[in-house]
Symmetry: C2
Subunit: 235 residues, 2 copies
Amino acid sequence: MNAKVSLTRKAVVLLSGGLDSATVLAMARQQGYACHALSVDYGQRHRVELEAAVRVARALGAVEQKTVRIDLAAFGGSALTDDSIAVPTQGVQKDGIPVTYVPARNTIMLALALAWAEVLEAQDLFFGANAVDYSGYPDCRPEYMRAFERMANLATKAAVEGHRLILHTPIIAMSKAVIIGEGLNLGVDYSLTVSCYQADAKARACGVCDACRLRRAGFEAAGVPDPTRYVPRRA
Amino acid sequence: MNAKVSLTRKAVVLLSGGLDSATVLAMARQQGYACHALSVDYGQRHRVELEAAVRVARALGAVEQKTVRIDLAAFGGSALTDDSIAVPTQGVQKDGIPVTYVPARNTIMLALALAWAEVLEAQDLFFGANAVDYSGYPDCRPEYMRAFERMANLATKAAVEGHRLILHTPIIAMSKAVIIGEGLNLGVDYSLTVSCYQADAKARACGVCDACRLRRAGFEAAGVPDPTRYVPRRA
């Protein structure tokens, strides 16, 4: 049996409702943390993801789940928040930064997680960033995570008082197939999760956006059935 | 005459509607920046400050002003957002971190400014943090600002493409009296600004909270009349 930290040790876990963050929540629970799941409604198109976050938090035994709303669409600049920019469906972009990148999104979400952690007196943040599949996103890289953690340890009352904050990014270097394998071992029900950038109101995935392609390829590579419900394609 | 940067050089200026950030906006304008003023409605008690921000932005020639709403009160933990914690009125606390500290507030506000800067393709952020009057706030210290800037330069598409972001904190080491002197030289009308943590609906200051005490002492030390409108005190 693994050594587990005390159940009174609290963690804030960023939970989008997608595959990656669900896996990270399961990992944090497995390590014995009392998990406070934070979802951020930043005006994203894929709002059914937020409904998925509520279901995933419950299924994986989070202590509580909060959704904080912030209107990043006011700034524009991303296909995920700006209706005038189309979500690409022609295959995963190989070079450069995708139009689905949301400016400073991870910095904002981590800042909110930091605020909640300070109020909860939690010293652990869990974040499902991935530098493999999302290699085009600057704020998914390990060097960014280290710089955020360093800044966070200068930012808060808790840090000033010597309670060091740790930013855990357990899947940052894992392939999608490995993430899925880890999650299945921990009992994650991926049919509850939504990854699609433009899922319909019934939480059915489009099957053609970058997020769908990465997810489907992950299940194929893991050699397990894909439980995702897809929108029926027209003939 | 000062060398000025081109007017096409954009800056995002965090503008609370208080004395400090109004002065910083005037400084950024004086340096020739086209200023995009960002105010953050984080559920603070002193909401008239946000109305002041709109007036100050107009008076000081900002290109535009946006107010972004985010519900930090959902987390609680500060006298400024949590109705169950009273704003202190018995004089400025000498030691430790005041209850008016809002967890991770500056990190969240700077993250939002970073997002807007990226969309605008601005490389300059101006922030009226002050490490003298607010020495108890960890996220007002110069070492925190440097860590945020470093993180920001790893976070964004612009930074990855080589456009370095600069976080300007021109008043961080100034006393309130010096800030007021600088602002008056630049034509700031301080009667438009609201600093009070619990101003009334007519934007009249309480005169007894920490922010009022620091502000009033600043005008006294600067040797200039205090234009603040105070709530009449009961006999």
